[in-house]
Every structure is written in structure tokens, then in C-alpha cells.
């Protein structure tokens, strides 16, 4: 046995791979996830009766009169004070009341102490639904074959224009002046390429399913569970239960992965559990099984991008026109924000003189799509990277040369008119990944065929905006409290959650260094809406960069006070702290985020500084394609990723490798299949995420182009970036190996075979 006490951590700790502070609890099984929380007195299990119909009028709910309902709590829409899930648009009911708009839509909630009886009770409820024609296809929705949402099925539109296309703001006007202008700009180019690219649904597949325990007492409503953003749930309770803020207590349990899937969805399961708890007067535990989790919860938005671009004969990119559609699913949820991020990343990491990007999100009668790592950007980066590969092919050049020639550099201007003044590392990442992977030699050599396999290599270059879009942080006003504690310790109180990515550990490192104390002299409070200020949600690659910088400033402020006390009256840091507390009582630094003053953003024209800064990366994938079966094996995966400053290198690499494998899974094996609005593969046995044998060797190179406002000497967001490049890099490698250019995901053997057969028919 090795003793469990951690090794001595050097000071300063930033840049050191401090072992995760929650590690010991996790490796011993002591960590309490929601389903591990001790049973509360009188606790009931909760279950959901869901619509089997994709669209229809809810005529009634019939309870089997033969069933003994005496010990079953039943909640329906009529039981809810305000039947709306509070998010961006108030379109989603907590329980369907008059209509259902997707299969799996919750209609009735049941609770019972006996789990076996509860399962029977679910079957004893019949939903009387008069079906209406559903729309499952986003283009059919756009064509308004049926009006299923609002006036025109459209959930949100954006228009970005730059250069000659920047003539008029006219979202939705397909033949408007800017469209004419961009068409003319493209037509004037030497080389014009048009392509259509499709990106598919993706299930987050956190290994811990969604779950919440809710109860009511004299303090109001309580919910604790697997939650990424406690204040989202808090807001949802405020609206639904008409409660004062201080009557709602939302606490995070140890969370077994989220990846966006536990950003907005937990509001729904928490509302459901709390409704049952309110009506029954007993605590209610709702834990989804895997099937229900896959069926009912949000997924990555499918996206179609139609791209036409023009460039000079020497490869200088000039003009870009993109028309993109995202499938929002039945309700709006976070779709406007996902569409925004997708739109803002659609031009890729490249310079363009003239740009027009028109984006539309439409409703379909499928479960709402929502947050998933990357948040719309992986879909549009897939498209633009595949498109540039096609442009390179037309020019007779290697894609990496074209990308190197056009990648945004310091002083360049993005499609929203943002001047990139500093922390721009696309070219550096490209160079490092290309060098490490021996990309150029391998490309020059051509695909290596050995036996019945062909090996190919491909690359993707990309950037990802860190933090909230545009003025988001200004509206958000994220806050953190740091307490000065006896003996010279600090206590961090934040709503930023650790869902596996290492927030707890990294925040301690940032605070410790800022205050000049040891990492183990910093505490981290369990995120709770009752005890922690609203730091904003744990999303958008903002936790370390934005919230971490508040932690840093608050720790600095407290430390300055203690050091002044030391200066004035002597003693150690700990002694001075104790004197301060004795004199003044509890001392806390409660700070609010101050967005960088140089950021200007116009939400109406979609112009300005879309993000405070960007993370940059280049992924190189080497694949082996089986020439008999067209199975794709990703053999090696290089990623040179600019993180600004690696606070904790092992955790940074863990984010990059884990995100990259999610991208690999999305690219080659993960696929949601549908029939009549039902998911036909709602199980881990047929929604295929990679195993250890499917994962490549990852060779991760950390690049550090510091962001002046980032904590710890310049840290930037890292959470989402690694999701962006894997799919296009793999598709490029597959194209290199077998000569088939795939524009649609996923790259399953069935699809590669079909594409190969189609291309052989064409060439024959």
C-alpha cells in the first residue's frame, strides 16, 4: 500500500499537474453521486409517462380503473402553477397540456415507494392523443410542409456580412442585396467551389445518467443531483413554482460527466421530481435508466451547410457564402445560442474578404436538441474544413498548404469584423502538429496500402471562441465569493461545477498562486444556489478563463489585505489572517466579472468582437481503412492545441484527448437512428461510443499563446475546442486513404462503401 497523502506541490502551482483534489474520493468509491445519496425518510421513486406520438392533440389521460392508484402520486399539467420550462423562449411545457410535439414528451408524472409497482403504474396510464402530421426533416420544416411551431417553424435566424456583402442587414431575405453582392464577389473569383455538408445528431452519453432528488420543507424547495448549472435549475423553479429566490435550494451532487447534456436538461428532471415531491409531500428520487436518458434528453443539433467560395488561382481565399440550417427539435431550448456559435464559427479559422453567412434554426417533431460540447461549432467547422479540402483539391494543392496560407494571423479580421490583436496561434499549432505527425512526408508518399488496408492522413485547422458570445458576459455578470478563513486559508464559493474536467483543482491552483499560499490551503465549496453566488453557467469554455479570473482577483484582493496586515503588525500570513478576522468578523471578497473593456459587439448587426479571444488548434489524424470492410481505425491522433496557459497540464491533456475521442466517435461510429420520430437505438449496445480498443494513441502538444486577461498567466477556454477538429481530420485521412470525399457524417463503413460504389459508378 502506498500512503494516500498527496505529494508536495511546488509553488507557484500553475503549470504543475496537481493531482485532482476529488481524486481519492473517486478512486475509492466514496464520492457520492446522486444515486448514491442516502435515502431520505419516506422517499418515493419518480417516473415519467411519455408520448408515443410525434405530434398530436392531447385529448385526455386515462388511468386504468383496475389499477390500485391509492399509493401512487400523479402529477399532470393542471397541477403546475406555471407550466413552462424557463429558458430563452417560453415555448416548452413542463408537462404536455394540450399538444404533444415529439415522441418521449413528458405528459404525466408518477411517484410510488415501490419501484416494481411504479413500473406497472406507468403502463396503466393511457394517453389519448389525436395524431397530427409530423415533420422530421429540417428542410421540410423550412419549406413549411406543415406549420408545427410559431408562424413559420423558424426558431432563430442570423446573418453575418463582411466586405462587399455588407450592404444591408436582411436576415431571411434569400435574394436580398447582400446575397446578390456575395454572388457577384464569388463570380469574380478565379476558382469557385460549391459543396453541401451534413453533420448529424450526437448523444452526450455521459456514463452517469441524469438524476435528481427533490424535497420540500419549511425552507422551500430542494433539489440535488447531477447538474452542470445549478442556477439554471434555480431559475426554472422560480418560474414554475412562483417561489422567491431564497426559497429554492439547488445543490450539485458529484456529477458523472455532462458535456452539455447536463446544462439545460436537469431543469426538467428537477422540476418533475419537485412537482411529485410537492404533491406527495415526500422526497422523490428520479434517476433515468439509460434508455430513457438517450430517448428523452437533448442531443447535438444536426446541421446542413451549403457553401460556395471563391479564391484566387494562388489560393488566396476571397469570398464566402454559407447557407446553413440547424434542426432545433420540437422546442427552442438553447437553440438560438447554439445557432449563434455555429454561425460565428462557420467561416473557420481563415481570412475572407467578403462573407455572407445566413443561418436558420427550424423546429422538427423530434426531442429538442441542446447543448453539447462545441455548441454548434463542430458542425460548421466540419463543413468549412471539408470545403477547404475540396478547394485544395480543385487547386491541385495539399489542403494544409491552403490552410496555412489563409489561416488567421495577428492583425487579421474575422468574418464579424473582429481584429485579432493578440493570442493568435493558428499558424503555430498547424506547424507543430504537421511537424510532429510527419504529415507532409506522409501525404507526399500517398496512401500506404499494406495487405488489405490503406493508411491515410488528414488535418483540420480550427479556432474556438472562449467564453460567452459578444456581450454575453456583460449581461451575465458572473460572481464568485472567496472567503478568508482562519489560519490563512481561502474558501472558494462559486456556482461553477466540476463535472470531471477539474474545476475544483484548477480553481484552487489559481487562488493559491494569486494569494501566495499552498494549494491545500484553499477550500472549494459544494456548488449550491443557497451558499454560492451565481458565477454563470459551467459552459462555453468560460469556467477557467472567465470565472477563474474572478477567483484570481478575489484571492489577490484578500491576500493583499492580509499582507498589508503582516506589513503593519508582523506575524505569519495565518496569524495576520486570524487578527483580521478577530477584528472585522468574517471577511469575504465577492467580485463580479469585468469583461475586457476593448470588447465591442453589436447584437443587431452581428458585428464586432464575437469572443474575447480564441483557442486555436490543429488536429492530424492517421487512419487505416480496411479495403474489404471499410472499417476506419484511427491509428494516431496528433493535436497541437493553444490553451493560452496550461494551469494543470495533465488535466489540459485530459480535456483534449477526451474531447478528441468524442469527435472521433461522432465521426466514425456514433449515430442516432430514427423511425417515425422514435429512436431505434436507444441503448449503449447500439449507440456506439469508442472503447479503449477503438481509441488511437493521442499525441497532444500544448501550445501557449497567453490571453492577457486570462488567469494564471493567460489561460483560455479549452473545454470545447477539442471537439471541433476530429471529424474533418478523419474525413480528410479517409479521403487520402481510399479516395472517397465524404461530406456527410458519420463515416460508417456502410456509408463509405456506398460512397465508393457511387464514385466508381460515376467515373465508370
Amino acid at each position: 500500500m502506498v500512503h494516500g497523502s498527496p505529494v508536495e506541490i511546488p509553488r507557484p502551482s500553475v503549470g504543475v499537474s496537481v493531482p485532482r483534489v476529488d481524486g481519492a474520493a473517486k478512486v475509492t468509491g466514496e464520492a457520492l453521486y446522486v444515486d448514491d445519496l442516502p435515502k431520505r425518510d419516506g422517499e418515493l421513486h419518480g417516473a415519467t409517462v411519455r408520448s408515443p406520438v410525434a405530434r398530436g392533440v392531447l385529448r385526455g389521460v386515462r388511468l386504468d380503473p383496475a389499477f390500485n392508484w391509492s399509493d401512487v402520486t400523479i402529477v399532470q399539467a393542471a397541477d403546475i402553477a406555471v407550466n413552462t420550462v424557463a429558458l430563452i423562449v417560453d415555448d416548452q411545457p413542463i408537462l404536455a397540456a394540450t399538444h404533444v410535439n415529439h415522441v418521449y414528451e413528458p405528459v404525466v408524472l408518477l411517484a410510488c415507494a415501490d419501484k416494481a409497482k411504479l413500473a406497472r403504474a406507468v403502463r396503466a396510464v393511457t394517453l389519448d392523443i389525436e395524431p397530427l402530421p409530423p415533420v422530421f426533416d429540417m428542410e421540410q420544416s423550412l419549406a413549411k410542409v406543415e406549420i408545427i411551431a410559431g408562424e413559420d417553424n423558424v426558431q432563430k435566424r442570423y446573418l453575418i456580412t463582411k466586405g462587399r456583402a455588407d450592404v444591408k442587414v436582411e436576415p431571411g431575405a434569400v435574394n436580398g442585396e447582400s446575397a446578390t453582392a456575395i454572388d457577384a464577389a464569388i463570380a469574380a473569383c478565379d476558382v469557385v467551389v460549391t459543396g453541401r455538408y451534413f453533420a448529424h445528431h450526437q448523444e452526450q452519453m455521459y456514463i452517469e445518467p441524469q438524476g435528481v432528488v427533490a424535497w420540500w420543507d419549511t425552507d422551500g424547495a430542494h433539489a440535488t443531483g447531477s447538474i452542470q448549472c445549478p442556477f439554471y435549475v434555480h431559475k426554472a423553479f422560480t418560474k414554475a413554482f412562483l417561489l422567491d429566490a431564497d426559497r429554492i435550494h439547488i445543490t450539485q451532487a458529484v456529477t458523472g460527466g455532462g458535456f452539455g447534456g447536463k446544462e439545460e436538461y436537469p431543469s426538467i428532471i428537477a422540476l418533475h421530481a419537485a412537482l411529485l415531491a410537492q404533491k406527495s409531500g415526500a422526497p422523490v428520487r428520479m434517476i433515468y435508466d439509460r434508455k430513457e436518458d438517450i430517448e428523452a434528453t437533448t442531443k447535438r443539433h444536426p446541421c446542413i451547410c451549403e457553401i460556395t467560395s471563391g479564391c484566387d488561382r494562388d489560393g488566396t481565399l476571397r469570398a464566402l457564402s454559407i447557407r446553413m440550417i440547424m434542426d432545433g427539435g420540437a422546442y427552442v431550448t438553447l437553440t438560438p445560442v447554439v445557432l449563434s456559435r455555429g454561425t460565428l464559427h462557420a467561416a473557420g479559422a481563415y481570412r475572407w474578404d467578403d462573407v455572407r453567412i445566413e443561418s436558420i434554426a427550424v423546429a422538427t417533431n423530434t426531442p429538442p436538441n441542446g447543448a453539447f460540447r462545441g455548441f454548434g461549432a463542430p458542425q460548421t467547422i466540419w463543413a468549412i474544413e471539408r470545403h477547404l479540402d475540396a478547394v485544395a483539391k480543385k487547386l491541385g494543392r495539399d489542403p494544409i498548404d491552403l490552410k496555412e496560407q489563409n489561416v488567421l494571423r495577428e492583425g487579421d479580421v474575422t468574418s464579424t469584423g473582429q481584429v485579432l490583436r493578440s493570442s493568435v496561434a493558428g499558424a503555430e499549432c498547424l506547424e507543430k502538429a504537421v511537424l510532429a505527425s510527419d504529415y507532409r512526408a506522409k501525404r507526399a508518399r500517398g496512401p500506404v496500402v499494406s495487405g488489405r488496408t490503406a493508411r491515410g492522413i488528414g488535418a483540420a485547422v480550427f479556432m474556438h471562441g472562449a467564453g460567452f458570445t459578444g456581450s454575453g458576459e456583460r449581461y451575465l455578470k458572473g460572481k464568485v465569493a472567496v472567503d478568508l478563513l482562519a489560519g490563512g486559508r481561502l474558501g472558494i464559493r462559486t456556482a461553477s461545477t466540476d463535472i470531471g474536467q477539474g474545476t475544483e483543482t484548477v480553481f484552487r491552483q489559481i487562488a493559491a498562486d494569486a494569494a501566495g499560499i499552498a494549494v491545500d490551503a484553499v477550500d472549494f465549496a459544494v456548488p449550491s444556489t443557497t451558499t454560492c453566488p451565481d458565477s454563470g453557467p459551467t459552459v462555453a469554455s468560460r469556467t477557467v478563463m472567465v470565472v477563474g479570473s474572478i477567483v484570481e482577483n478575489a484571492a489577490k484582493q484578500l491576500s493583499a489585505r492580509v499582507r498589508a496586515e503582516v506589513e503593519a503588525h508582523g506575524g505569519t500570513f495565518g496569524e495576520a489572517t486570524d487578527r483580521l478576522i478577530a477584528r472585522e468578523g468574517p471577511i469575504t471578497s465577492l467580485l463580479q466579472y469585468a469583461p475586457p473593456s476593448f470588447i465591442t459587439w453589436d447584437d443587431t448587426t452581428y458585428k464586432g468582437d464575437a469572443y474575447p479571444c480564441y483557442g486555436w488548434a490543429c488536429d492530424v489524424a492517421e487512419v487505416e481503412v480496411d479495403l474489404d470492410t471499410f472499417e476506419v481505425t484511427v491509428v494516431d491522433f496528433w493535436s497541437a492545441t493553444d490553451v493560452g496557459k496550461a494551469i494543470n497540464p495533465v488535466m489540459c491533456k485530459g480535456q483534449i484527448e477526451g474531447g478528441s475521442l468524442q469527435a472521433i466517435g461522432w465521426a466514425v461510429s456514433e449515430e442516432i437512428t430514427w423511425r417515425d420520430g422514435h429512436i431505434t437505438n436507444p441503448r449503449m449496445t447500439n449507440y456506439i461510443i469508442p472503447t479503449s480498443l477503438d481509441a488511437p494513441r493521442f499525441q497532444t502538444i500544448l501550445v501557449e499563446a497567453p490571453f492577457a486577461m486570462g488567469p494564471g498567466g493567460g489561460a483560455k477556454g479549452i473545454g470545447e475546442l477539442p471537439m471541433d477538429g476530429g471529424a474533418p481530420a478523419i474525413a480528410a485521412a479517409v479521403e487520402h486513404a481510399v479516395g472517397v470525399a465524404m461530406g456527410s457524417l458519420p463515416l460508417t463503413p456502410e456509408r463509405i462503401l456506398a460512397a465508393k460504389q457511387a464514385s466508381e459508378r460515376t467515373s465508370a
Partner: protein, 158 residues
Amino acid sequence: MKISLTLNGAPRELDSAPLVRLLDALRGPLGLTGTKEGCGEGECGSCTVLLDGDPVNACLVPIGQCEGRAITTVEGLGEMAHLSPLQRCFIDEGGAQCGICTPGMLISAEALLRRVPDPDEPTIREALAGNLCRCTGYQRIVESVRRAAELLREGAAR
């Protein structure tokens, strides 16, 4: 039905319906919630425990079949204050992120290292192939197991 078994080295007895899943027996009457449920169908491996030394999915084993047999769960590997080398390495090398797959992953790794003290990378990956992880990309898990094997061999040599 009365069932006697050895749990993490200690004899235990419980009264349970025989078809109740070992997973539910462990997390319920036996009071050990370290073993996790991720799918309930033998795919994710989060509920992996050792049954007479071999890794099995506790969601597919009825408790009635455990009569007289030895079960090892994550709680049997080490404690917070006395971590096993494998547990220590999962922390130090970044093998655990969200941690929900970690107990099962540790058990599969433990089973491997008991049989193969010096596994190469493909052997490690094969031994862990029944444990799905969505956070790490597996690389740091493989590194954790390799490092633990080194420590164990160094310890054995001493």
C-alpha cells in the same frame, strides 16, 4: 433466500430474493455504493466487480449465484488514507475525470495486474475494453495502469 458470500475479504450474509442483481444488492442491503450503474445491460462496465477473481458486470449477475463466492468491489482495493498503487496512479496520471467509470475501470485493471504483472499497451487496452469512459480518451487510464504495474513490480522486487 439467505446468501453467504465473501465481500472484500470479509464474510457477509444477506437475505435477498435470488434474482436481485448483485449490483442492487451491493448498493442496497450491502451498503457499498462505489459500484456504479451506467447502463444496466452489461455494456458500460461501470458496475464491474471481481467474482472469484474474474471481472463481471454486477448488473448481469443475480445475487443468488454468489452463494459461497468471493466478491471484490472498489471499496476492497484501498481506502482514502491508504490508496493502492493503482488508485494512486489513477489520480496522479489523470486516469479519473468525472469518476463514474473509475470504480469499474479500477476493478478491470486490478484483475489484469493480478494475472499479468507486466502488461503491454494492447493487453491493457484489451483488459479495459469492457469499461466505457466518455471523459478521458482512455490514454491517461492506460498510462495509469502501466505506471501502477511498474510500481507494483518495483514493490515486489524490493
